[in-house]
Amino acid sequence: MTANERLLTVTDLAVSYRTRRGDVHAVRDVSLHVDEGETVAVVGESGSGKSTTAAAVVRLLAPAARIERGTIDLLGRDVAGASPRELQAVRGLLVGLVPQDPTVSLNPVKRIGDQVAEVLRIHGLADRRIAGIEAIEALRRAGLPEPEVRARQYPHELSGGMRQRVLIAIALVAKPRLLVADEPTSALDVTVQRQILDHLDTLTNETGTGVLLITHDLGVAADRADRIVVMSQGRVVEAGTPDEVLGSPREAYTKALLAAAPSLRGARRAPTPVAIDAPAALEVRGLVKDFPLPRSSGGGTLRAVDDVSFRVPRGRTLAIVGESGSGKSTTARLALRLAEPTAGQVLVGGDDVSHTRGSALRALRRQMQVVYQNPYSSLDPRWSVGQIISEPLRAFRVGDRASRAARTAELLDLVALPASVVHRRPAELSGGQRQRVAIARALSVRPDLVVLDEPVSALDVSVQAQILDLLADLQSELGVTYLFISHDLAVVRQVAHEVVVLQNGRVVESGDVEEVFARPQHAYTAELLAAIPGTAAHRPLVSASAGSSGTSRGGER
């Protein structure tokens, strides 16, 4: 094994999808290769064809997809033209797949151990008993604690991170030469993401397994890959080592992608606050929220939010960060009075509204509006954009038909959407445009406070950057106050003035964003910061901001 063997060679691959409006060419003339012991990252935005490329390598394309041209050579076998029977012999044995979303990629009605052992049984590598033992061993190698217990459990009894480890065990149990990992961690929290990727590195380094890593996250690619392939609109626009691609990007697209990627060194977007001692738009004191647990799991209560206090001065942005289950969304719901606090106070504009009901509560709603995470599901698909934006106006009986139409046009202009979209439906808009519609809707009744619940998590990085810019512009223009909920610290650093870090429902740290990020006082904050992709010590993103404003203010770590 002196010279590294070539595992995978993709040459001039073209894949198209049949649609009612003709063929869509998702992948055009893509060539790439993976050698033994090498990790190759394919990076790009949604629709760049990166996932289609990955699916083609294991021939798990959607039914409407067709390989038009090109060859996929896996250790001398032609995958592109293989028969179903030949493919069965290749999948699992020569190439393993780690799918995108661990929460839905395991069969919910089969035990973990059986699902891992199945690979060995299919390929006749072990009998029932030995396959069971090897499955437990594979789970152990994948870093799952107590693999004997886990093997007898069902997927729903495991967390997302644990399920992804199970899927890694499935992919690696038959010791394949190549691993295809399609966004293996995009559905997981940052700290879990780092553990999983670290573990994948270790496992593949030991065995010399080649990895084709598909990711939309440049940080992940920079940290993990030996070579990076950048894809855009179905084509490879740039390829090379991380230093070549990220250090001195040649292509405009790569530069744009890099500039848009939130990192700890990118330019701040949050406008300079008007006055630090402005009156509080929102203040919460000692908020507590208990949820009763089902009796089947022993009863009792779960304290989702535990003694949370913070103050958001008018015209500023306060971010609440934390991982899933940290209580950040519940806190937002309490602040919006969408849920009843078990204890504590909510003050809006200085008035205690903790127990406001009826019409007073309705009036209060007008002062607080929300923008949700997923613009694909938070807009009624049957309504036109105009109807969506003017709904709060109609609900609060603001103005007449003509003035509402005028306000809608004004709002569209404010969020930089062309006036022509007013009659379109959400399905005809892109994700970024939809989120602009959601923001316009939130602003329609001129609220004092807008709660932004992960407003950019569902969007591509370049679109993220545009939306964050828009939010910052709106704040300096309208003086609106933001409560920004996010798990993404890089984004938080860009938009927030102050930050509250939540862990298990408790505030572990709070204060000025620059201060907290530069000198985290709590171990958990430091851990969250370290887990952000693109901050791996051995390979700093030297000129990540080369394409943007060129400055790198603060946050030097």
């Binding site: 999808y17 649609t19 869509v24 998702a26 935005e45 949604s46 629709g47 064809g49 996932s51 289609t52 798990l60 409407a64 179903p84 029977r85 069965q88 012999a89 290749v90 999948r91 699992g92 393993g96 797949l97 995108q100 979303d101 661990p102 839905v104 990629s105 069969n107 919910p108 009605v109 089969k110 199945e118 690979v119 299919i122 459990q153 069902y154 729903h156 009894e157 967390s159 997302g160 991170g161 644990m162 399920r163 992804q164 966004e183 995009s186 559905a187 997981l188 929290d189 700290t191 879990v192 553990q195 939309h216 991982e323 899933s324 289950g325 599901s377 892109s430 998590s457 569902a458 798990h487």
Partner: protein, 341 residues
């Protein structure tokens, strides 16, 4: 498990009681009472005084709540009263009618599950688009065909043209075949429709891709991974159609002139034989409740996610949980904008 069962059982009893009460009230609200049905009409050989005496004898002169409580008390002791047409105990009439109906309904159910299930599996597993399309067009047809027409056609062909089975009557196994097929037709169509839909949906689930990535073949993916997941909604529907089998028996037994619960229902409704109708409703409700109880018991065996209270979590997860499932993965499969699947 015992607590889960106890709760289910209690609910089942509640349903039975509700069914009894509602039938009682509806039948009471109908014009005419059993006595005037028995002796009434235009025949004038019974004086109104005698009718009143009879009403008093049956307790029909009592106010509604009293009648209700007395009858419910009797029903609880297993006495459903007597037929007002022929004076026989309702329980006996039902006990006689139940076995022949159970025969055809049971055979029909087995047939429906085999044919419907088989059709769904073959239709979704085959590589041939033409075969799959043809098979998937059958269930709507099966639901649309009126069962009395289908029954008569069967009789025409397999009793008169080719005398394989008797056209009517209750004699032996041969007489079960044609009614069972007639009864199975709409039921199997429903099961096939539900299961094939469910299978097609399940086959698009990401865990099916995981199974394929393991190197599993089509058959294995179908039978070991998809079928068990897809069977759950089909199971619910099966529970519902068993209730439908009973009403189907009314038509089928009439067409084939078979004695049974269906015929008993038809005749007693026509004769306004209130106690018998009420007894039949109670039997139907009991069957329905028992079937659904059975399905509630089977469910957790098929799907471990349904917690019955007996299953404790072996060990809680130790790592933080994944973000909620509603979080969209940035690009699931990179179908470009406007791509259709």
């Amino acid at each position: 498990m015992t607590r889960y069962l106890a709760r289910r059982l209690l609910l089942a009893l509640g349903v039975l009681w509700a069914a009894y009460t509602v039938t009682f009230l509806i039948l009471f609200a109908l014009p005419g009472d059993p006595v005037s049905i028995m002796y009434g009409g235009d025949s004038s050989d019974i004086t109104p005084e005698q009718l009143d005496a009879l009403r008093a004898q049956y307790g029909l002169d009592q106010p509604l709540p009293v009648q209700y409580v007395t009858q419910l008390g009797h029903a609880l002791q297993g006495d459903l009263g007597n037929s007002v047409v022929n004076g026989q105990p309702v329980t006996r009439l039902i006990a006689d009618a139940l076995p022949p109906t159970a025969q055809i309904a049971g055979s029909a159910l087995v047939l429906a599950i085999l044919v419907g299930g088989g059709l769904a599996v073959v239709a979704t597993a085959t590589r041939s688009r033409r075969l799959s399309g043809f098979l998937l067009s059958l269930p709507p047809l099966g639901v649309a065909i009126p069962s009395f027409w289908f029954g008569l056609t069967l009789v025409q062909w397999f009793s008169f043209e080719i005398p394989l089975f008797p056209a009517l009557g209750n004699q032996g196994f041969a007489s079960v075949v044609l009614p069972a097929i007639t009864l199975a037709l709409p039921t199997s169509a429903l099961i096939a429709q539900m299961l094939s839909r469910s299978l097609l949906h399940t086959l698009r689930e990401p865990y099916v891709d995981t199974a394929l990535a393991k190197g599993a073949g089509r058959t294995r993916v179908h039978l070991r991974h998809a079928l068990r997941n897809a069977a759950l909604p089909a199971l619910t529907v099966t529970g519902l159609v068993i209730g439908g089998l009973l009403s189907g028996a009314v038509v089928t037994e009439t067409v084939f002139s078979r004695a049974g619960l269906g015929r008993l229902t038809a005749t007693s409704v026509a004769a306004q034989d209130i106690p018998v109708v009420q007894g039949v409703v109670l039997v139907a409700a009991t069957v329905y409740v028992l079937v659904n109880l059975l399905i509630d018991i089977i469910y957790p065996l098929l799907d471990p996610r349904i917690v019955t209270g007996a299953r404790r979590r072996v060990a809680p997860p130790t790592t933080p949980t994944a973000r909620p499932a509603s979080v969209p993965a940035p690009d699931r499969v990179a179908v470009p904008a406007g791509g259709s699947r």
